[in-house]
Symmetry: C2
Subunit: 185 residues, 2 copies
DNA sequence: TGGGAATCTTGTCAATGACTAGATAGTCTC
DNA sequence: GAGACTATCTAGTCATTGACAAGATTCCCA
């Protein structure tokens, strides 16, 4: 896999890393392929070869994001076997991988039908639903799953946009609390 | 408003309306001031006078959106006096005023500290919290408010991004159902 | 060793946001 | 009703960007 090519070597990885930094700093809209090329020290058309166009770059980031999310959900379930902690992990992912999260749920910016994206998204979706029947005794599990997803996704989104100003610096603790409101122990 | 040769007459309103159409069609990122100017039949710099820059235009849209949201929440509470129906109205607003909603929760695109925006946002926030104590018997009302906001905001966001594909064409009915999961009658 | 493929560069084009200066219309005052 | 003042819109310009095309350099493999 070591690609000592031309002047740079591992341009694809370098551009992806630079894109994550740039998105974290300025949001998905504040990223330009030319700036990423400058950061990587290559010509302005260098990144194009690896991603085709800007949407291609964001597609790669979305796929990577869904993979990371699925991994995080798997780990949370394995560690606690508590459905609510899977939700907390969802929020934790959004905060810790803000750039990925911001891209993932803006399908107008990339190619949502990309096979890699679809596969990882399905995997994440499956992992998110795992264990929903352990807490939703009387209710429809499918509906409970939608409610749970909505709750943690909404909390994460509101937190990231700065709408929840009256919360102390422990978003995951608050996420755990509201998960308890939805699914009482 | 009859069109004049030089002066448009009602350019500010025309640009705002064109912007809503364009955002509904292509998202907030797919809007250009020059295209809006073309749609309104004025020169490429015409809209600048009314909004300063692109962020100024989106600021006006955000303020208008928060005002419309606050109105919708007021009406829902007045009509039903049911806190859960206020949440359903939140979802209904997001669907019926998608362009506004898409802008409102992307503060990186406009000036979130604008006085008009802040005032209407506070009003909407107040209206959203009204009645939360009628359903949150044992729990902390503040926490219950955050949970409710997260739930409906997350559901609306997921619906608008196309993430909830397995729901029939009645998002507000589903919203009502998950509000019932969070706050059982 | 030679040729094809992968990788990167250089050059170009239209579109855009932002800025400046100027032209025109509406309004107010006297 | 005339001039002055202000609001509104036009015309021109510039740097930046995404996308594309064509060429140069390096890698890989038979």
């Amino acid at each position: 896999m070591t690609k000592r090519a031309y002047h740079h070597g591992d341009l694809r990885r370098a551009v992806l890393a630079a894109a994550i930094d740039a998105i974290t700093e300025h949001g998905p809209g504040g990223v330009s392929l030319r700036d990423l090329a400058r950061r990587a020290g290559v010509s302005h058309a260098g990144p194009v070869h690896h991603f085709g166009d800007k949407a291609g770059l964001l597609t790669a980031i979305a796929a990577q994001g869904y993979a990371l999310l699925a991994d995080a959900l798997v780990e949370a379930w394995a560690a606690t076997e508590d459905f609510r902690e899977v939700g907390v992990a969802y929020v934790g992912f959004a905060i810790r991988h803000r750039a990925h999260f911001d891209v993932m749920f803006r399908p107008d910016l990339y190619h949502p039908d990309d096979p890699d994206v679809a596969a990882e998204r399905d995997r994440a979706s499956t992992e998110l639903a795992r264990g929903v029947d352990t807490v939703a005794g009387e209710t429809d599990p499918h509906l409970a799953g939608i409610a749970a997803w909505s709750l943690v996704h909404g909390f994460a989104t509101l937190w990231l946009t700065g709408a929840l100003t009256d919360i102390d610096d422990a978003p995951e603790a608050t996420a755990r609390a509201i998960a308890g409101v939805l699914f009482r122990a």
